[in-house]
Symmetry: C2
Subunit: 255 residues, 2 copies
Amino acid sequence: MKKPLILVTNDDSISAPGIRALIEVMNELGTVVVVAPDSPQSAMGHAITINSMLHLNKVSAEGAAITEYTCSGTPVDCVKFAVNEILKQKPDLCVSGVNHGSNSSINVIYSGTMSAAVEAGIEGIPAIGFSLLDYDWNADFETFKPYIKQIALEVLEKGLPENVVLNVNFPKKKKNELKGIKICRQAKAIWAEKFDKRKTPQGKDYYWLTGEFINLDKGQDTDEWALGQGYISIVPVQFDMTAHHAIQQLNNWNL
Amino acid sequence: MKKPLILVTNDDSISAPGIRALIEVMNELGTVVVVAPDSPQSAMGHAITINSMLHLNKVSAEGAAITEYTCSGTPVDCVKFAVNEILKQKPDLCVSGVNHGSNSSINVIYSGTMSAAVEAGIEGIPAIGFSLLDYDWNADFETFKPYIKQIALEVLEKGLPENVVLNVNFPKKKKNELKGIKICRQAKAIWAEKFDKRKTPQGKDYYWLTGEFINLDKGQDTDEWALGQGYISIVPVQFDMTAHHAIQQLNNWNL
């Protein structure tokens, strides 16, 4: 059987331990090409770069085990570059992450990691975003490697439902505390923002965006619930954002 | 009756003719506060600014008819600033746009205009994004003002279904060519990217992201179809990205 071609990307930049762990696992499964941001691109959502130029740099030596590029753009730019300019074909799988921090619930919409996976999905490539609920640069990714491998193998073997990508989150748990994998829906949650107002040395106001995550959802079928219980959560994510259930109601409006 | 409080934002920046047209209409309907980017933020998707500081500047004089602020961040940052730092309350309505260019079909996911509306929706505020299928800075917004007013009034009166915001697109048509309004679903479409490769004066490669829009959807219930026929399209948009229909299928996997 031909080795699958696997595209690896992330939003924490090419030097993040999370992507290095992901590359190691993918190297066991296929031919790996990495195209990742040259600087951190967290919370970039589905941003693309159209008002400035982009740089692409090959950072691996010729003949290296893995081909690696950095891109000056967003995670979504990385996927577009990979498919259209580097590979000139669709990879068999795109994996993004492992993100340093949660992309569960509403975070999926702010996440550069997940937006890269969603972009691959839009382009018809089976795609998975992986995230660990630990912001620490030295977080323990080792524990989750067998799960990453298992989930990626299932997707390579079975494919994914049409127009669906996977959002996988790992709880910050030790191996013996993990309860397994749960397929979930996205919990309804919000960020309660707080702007941390400061002054420059010259006396001008500036702000840092901070916030507190608030889970509004008591359901036991959500990713937040599963993660809280020690499960790995998988949410199937779609990019048709139509609220189909609302169409009939709006048709009764006076428009 | 108390005048409604209306937040106006966009992604083309505060000086764009599209937002000026939107402000004019909203001024007839309520008390208007504008918080818009200080520079163009097209295609920023749902990006937020967490790795750099933010600036906020009041640009209208005290006692001016409308209170206006610029923000150095993304459209989503603007909404967060408005709600949490400026208004300190939820407005009765948030409108975003009028965007110079289409946000129909898959563009909804890349759009700063729509992400601002979606952010307002996440925060529980009735929200509408407006876009005109004309990239021209001097596009004719005048024709669409009665429709903007009509749609905004309906939302102020009836509210919106829970967790739903509206994506309104105007075709590039003259008044007498407009066929009315259609409630639609998001057409399935993609961008076929092309990277325009150039060289700096020093001989280093750089790229511009360009692309061609390809509608893959032949349905007559889509926004693309409606716009092509001369209708104004309204797509109800949700931010629960769960592919609920795929959950059962994934539960049968070997995980």
